[in-house]
């Protein structure tokens, strides 16, 4: 009896906490949404309902270009970083090799380095390596899309690796042993046992990488080339004039786009999971 009430008492408190947290997390988002429809140019003042800000997005080619650059950078750098990050995670968690400690420590640095330091160091690195290439090979390279992607991958590998490692570490290692006992090759064991099991971690790492890439300002500012400005850098440079409802509209659209992406991947995952469960059931494994 007392145990039951003990367990029941906190539940409403937990629910309250849960809703409070969600309200807290979404309060600014709701504000953004509401004011993206406000006719007043001054942020925070309601000026009547309008969809004009969304309409101007179709005319503002510069804004569209920055969004396009941001999205492309995010997608490409995330794919590369996820692959490399997952490989690092597997290597660090499942193998011993020379230089492991150095690699491990190296992968912590992008997480703790201040943004501006990384921005400055990438600028110096690219400028001087381009000078070197020009001096030795006579080819002139400029900063641009590629340098942004390279820099984003450089910090995202570490973040993906942390997330995937957490997942691998929590995995039952004996499952892979079981697979090899059942005469599966390394590759088969990886493909049919490890990969599905770490998939949530890989996905989580990828999501984190996309978020970090889309939000990066200082590093991108320093390594971008002319005409390859990303959205956050563009917004950053606009703040002198204040955040107009157009920026609100852009944020809402990006939000909706991400939601669609996530819904899609969740749906995909569920389809995969149910298929996987069926497979495991037929082979008699655990889920």
């Amino acid at each position: 009896m007392s145990q039951a009430t003990n367990r029941r008492l906190p539940i409403w408190a937990l629910r309250l906490n849960g809703s409070a947290v969600l309200l807290f997390l979404y309060a600014p988002i709701i504000l953004l949404l509401v004011f993206s429809f406000s006719a007043s140019r001054i942020p925070g003042q309601w000026g009547g309902f309008t969809t004009e800000w969304y309409a101007t997005l179709f005319d503002d080619s510069r804004l569209q270009r920055t969004i396009s650059v941001s999205v492309r950078v995010a997608l490409i750098s995330t794919v590369i970083a996820t692959v490399l990050g997952t490989m690092s995670a597997l290597a660090l968690e499942r193998f011993k090799f020379r230089g492991r400690r150095v690699f491990d420590a190296l992968l912590y640095l992008p997480i703790i380095i201040p943004d501006v330091t990384m921005a400055v160091m990438m600028l110096m690195f690219f400028s001087q390596s381009f000078n070197l290439v020009e001096a030795v090979f006579g080819i002139a390279i400029t900063k641009g899309f590629a340098t942004i992607v390279i820099s984003h991958v450089a910090f995202n590998i570490a973040f993906v690796s942390v997330v995937v490692r957490a997942r691998i570490a929590g995995m039952d290692a004996t499952l892979e042993q079981a697979a090899s006992d059942l005469y599966a090759t390394r590759w088969q064991a990886f493909r049919f046992v490890t990969l599905p099991l770490i998939a949530p971690g890989v996905l989580g790492g990828a999501l984190l990488a996309v978020t970090l890439s889309l939000d990066d300002v200082v590093v991108t500012q320093f390594v971008a080339g002319p005409g390859s400005t990303t959205l956050p850098v563009y917004v950053f440079s606009l703040i002198r004039k204040g955040v107009t409802p157009t920026i609100n509209a852009v944020s809402v659209i990006m939000l909706v786009a991400s939601l669609i992406l996530v819904a899609g991947s969740v749906g995909l995952q569920r389809a995969n999971a149910s298929r996987g469960r069926q497979q495991l059931q037929t082979t008699g494994g655990t889920s």
Partner: protein, 364 residues
């Protein structure tokens, strides 16, 4: 084995790059051989945000058949390393006065071919040659303005004393304490304090700087925020009553207000900053001829006027005067009558770190 080799390789590459650093980027550049009105590719412009009328860009594109690609920066110090390192890809940049002298000294700017910019003659002699570009070989003034105080007249009254004491004097600021913003810029804010104390804002005296630091430190308790971007909005929305900021931005904000007559901007009687932004070419501008043509275009009398009419900053172009809107020309905010107490900010060399340290310390 492999990893030690990797590490060694890494160190070797780093070493090579540092050596390259010593050698790269200091070719003494000479002016490009360009004819008037010629272009050699699209224009890549690196400018402050919302500083050029989009119609002007379109007009340039149509007149010369090239595209104008603009990127923005929000501070000189963020723009400078990108340009100085080389291969920035930009043809025209818009540095402020003190940054011009720094960049000239570091060889980051390409000298101008004055034959390709006949409209240079349009510039008011006050701005050409400029104190920060004494040979006049590197820059053409773009816009100028002042730094001062925007105030809410409904709270301060029409006959409010026009002094920095509104911020720095505890008694004067008692009425609206907590509703003041200061610029988040060491030179500007400490400069205001220095002017209030009667010193030059380019002082290199540690004692004078200490006094200014004390004044600012005392004021920190009375201000709402250090803000260099939205001071005009905070003023006009009623969140603050005294805002330290730039003339054009302030004017823009005031025009946007419901009752513009409730607000005004002035440079306090003790004096303040006058600043100029200037067009210049990075030392490795890829399309120098287009750049020269662009500068010449902006210096045209009517174009210069269009620029001022749009961004509400002062035009250094004497020939533009007839074309500037009367209400802009007569506006004391844009064209203050008395400029005797105004100083340009100049580079104080090694003393710059003293300014920034004093500012950090004043904040506590």
């Amino acid at each position: 084995m492999r990893t030690t080799k990797l590490k060694l390789a890494g160190v070797a590459v780093a070493g090579a790059m540092l050596l390259a650093a010593c050698g790269g980027g200091d070719d003494a550049s000479s002016a490009a051989a360009c004819e008037v009105g010629t272009t050699d590719g699209d224009l890549y412009l690196y400018n402050w945000s919302e500083y050029i009328d989009p119609d002007l860009k379109t007009a340039f594109e149509e007149q010369y058949g090239v595209a104008v690609i603009e990127d923005n920066y929000d501070s000189n110090e963020a723009m400078q390393p990108i340009v100085a390192e080389g291969n920035s890809g930009y043809d025209v940049i818009v540095p402020s006065d003190y940054m011009v002298s720094i960049m000239i000294e570091e060889g980051s700017l390409m000298p101008l071919n004055l034959d390709a910019i006949p409209n240079m003659a349009n510039l008011d002699p006050v701005f050409y040659p400029a104190p920060y570009d004494p040979t006049g070989a590197y820059t053409a003034a773009y816009q100028w303005g002042t730094t001062g105080l925007g105030v809410d007249l409904t709270v301060l009254g029409e006959d409010t004393p026009r002094t920095w004491g509104l911020i720095f004097d505890p008694e004067l600021s008692a009425n609206f304490g907590g509703n003041i913003t200061l610029l988040n810029d060491p030179r500007e804010t400490l400069g205001a304090a220095l002017k209030y104390l009667g010193y030059s804002l380019n002082t290199t005296s540690a004692e004078e700087l200490d006094e200014a630091k004390a004044v600012v430190a005392d004021a920190v308790a009375r201000i709402a925020a250090f803000d260099s971007d939205q001071y005009d909005e905070l003023l006009v929305s009623g969140q603050t009553q005294v805002a330290h900021g730039y003339s054009g931005n302030m004017l823009y904000g005031i025009y946007d207000a419901e009752n513009p007559d409730d607000y005004t901007y002035f440079v306090p009687d003790e004096g303040g900053t006058i600043w100029t932004d200037n067009m210049a070419l990075p030392f490795d501008a890829p399309h120098p001829c287009t750049a020269h043509t662009f500068i010449n275009f902006i210096l045209d009398a009517e174009n210069g006027a269009a620029l001022t009419n749009w961004n509400l900053y002062g035009s250094p172009n004497a020939a533009s005067e007839p074309f500037i809107d009367a209400e802009v020309l007569e506006n004391e905010i844009v064209y203050p009558a008395d400029r005797s107490k105004l100083e340009f900010i100049t580079n104080t060399g090694d003393f710059e770190t003293n300014f920034s340290d004093a500012f950090s310390e004043a904040k506590g």
